[in-house]
Symmetry: C2
Subunit: 319 residues, 2 copies
């Protein structure tokens, strides 16, 4: 992050026609955007929403309320413009790009063997890395994949401990399904326990292709100095291995929205990250982060458009 | 509220391509907009932000960090387009209208006598009532007035008890100033104690012209079936008397944002209202509610733009 740019932004912020600090997190967001973009003022001319889709062998364990073919059906819905993320991308002025990752070849059922071998994992990481445009000024990371909250919960537990505690009802599974989901996670953690000490091996063993792609895209954004908005539990779990590899590796990222999926809050506590919004969404697709992009636009509009005290000839504080 | 319209909206919501309920509060907001507008789908073609400005005699007690002339200076800044609310109105596609209420004649210092007599109070209520356009489809209620967090805290305590507990640092007063603010509130509560049992007399005695105008605008919106977004502690305190007069009188209103001003959360607890956003703003002007208008736009975009399961040919739940 560019400290000089951040300080220039703060200096302007202090002269705008409002009590100091009275725009709260909007001020922090402007400073964060500027620091990572390395320019003052920051811009949101080319935000992009990247949605990665993949299928999961662990659905064989009865962990999801929907069948696996819904992943490809939703990808078709994205292409046709009919999903929530299409509407939110349009409203927030972001480009939307969908990347399908071998939908016809689900990962292996990780209760039985590693979800991906090293080649498959790195292919997916690379696919995500390559999707980030050089000239993007913000990247929103989202996903679609029936069964992927099971992978996210398993990966979270692999990284931070606690067995099935990150499991939730996902797209709306019943109590028996939730019990199967917890059992699958615990079985996977036991089966792969020798590999889970390495965050990247954990991501290969109990993650998924779309999670690996999100990790790759997050790395590419870091390399290109592009700030990132993370979405819900799946996209947060996807980037969590980076935090264990290097403490400051998610400093270029903010979490857009706290998912109603129970494990997301637990995972954010582990990562020490505070979401911008809490509106009860639990949809994925990048939807919560896309709503948060509207908040970034509000921050930027205030910072760039407001008059200074001098310009508006407004009296100083009396005290 | 129109129950049949709300049910029609819920029926469509259930058919959209997402797990049931997975858009969280966005779904509630769409249903609320539709019910009050009495149309399906609801619209946000003509939202308006009404900002009422006034001055306060209680500033003589040294309760604010800024001098009273800043109220008129900020009104000039609104007119010139330089304030935060100008940028947020533009971003959220809302008309912005500023109403100055006798800025050269502050209310009386309510530590010594009632802020307004009945005529002045009703004039201000009427001014607010008249500002709501017949064809508005949403009204955001905001304010500007040096000293008005003292009035808001005094009125909140008059309605719900607790002396100075609603007082905060406002535009940024120091500890001594906060002590003066609390003392002024307690003196006012004691002086006017015989009048405070009547919510409207309380609003006249320890409120302010802009608070009275917001109350009037909230009533007008109710009469015209227009949903309302309330902003921070001042606009919430302004409408609070209505809740005591009739339990359901704020059902057409939502609170856009939880102010960082400490008393706002306490006041919302008393009213049983949950803010949409919590971004640390404490600026007033309607700014927090204007950011929340972006969330309403997100809700509406999803509801009106998404495909149904049938349209997208997506499989039903397996369970």
């Amino acid at each position: 992050a560019d400290q000089a740019t951040a300080e220039a932004v703060s200096a302007r912020e202090a002269r705008l026609t409002k009590p100091s600090g009275s725009l709260g997190r909007l001020e922090d967001l402007t400073a964060w955007l500027a620091a990572w973009q390395g320019r003052n003022p920051p811009r949101l001319d080319r935000p992009e929403i990247l949605v990665f889709a993949a299928n999961h062998g662990v659905t064989a364990q009865g962990v999801s309320a929907y069948p696996s073919e819904v992943t490809a059906q939703m990808v078709a819905n994205f292409a046709a413009g009919g999903a929530a993320i299409n509407q939110l991308a349009c409203l927030s002025g972001a480009a939307l790009r969908i990347t399908s990752l071998s939908l016809d070849t689900p990962t292996a059922d990780f209760t039985k063997k590693p979800a991906m071998d090293e080649t498959a994992f790195l292919d997916a990481v690379g696919a995500g890395y390559d999707e980030v445009s050089d000239d993007a000024d913000l990247v929103v990371l989202g996903e679609m994949g029936i069964g992927n909250t099971t992978a996210a919960a398993a990966l979270s537990a692999a990284l931070f401990g606690g067995g099935g505690r990150f499991a939730g009802t996902g797209t709306g599974i019943d109590d028996q399904g939730l019990a199967r989901k917890r059992a699958a996670i615990e079985k996977a953690l036991e089966r792969h326990k020798d590999a889970l000490g390495d965050p990247l091996r954990a991501a290969a063993c109990v993650g998924g292709r779309e999670l690996a792609a999100i990790l790759g895209a997050c790395l590419a954004a870091r390399h290109k100095h592009i700030p990132v908005l993370i979405d819900g539990i799946v996209s947060t779990a996807a980037v969590a291995p980076l935090k264990l590899l290097r403490e400051d590796s998610l400093d270029h990222a903010r979490v857009g929205h706290l998912s109603a999926e129970a494990g997301h809050g637990l995972l954010l506590d582990e990562l020490g990250m505070t979401p911008l919004l809490d509106l009860g969404l639990r949809l994925g697709e990048g939807s919560g982060a896309a709503v948060a992009l509207l908040v970034l636009r509000a921050a930027l509009a205030c910072h760039t458009g407001m008059a200074t005290f001098e310009e508006a000839q407004i009296s100083d504080k009396s005290s």
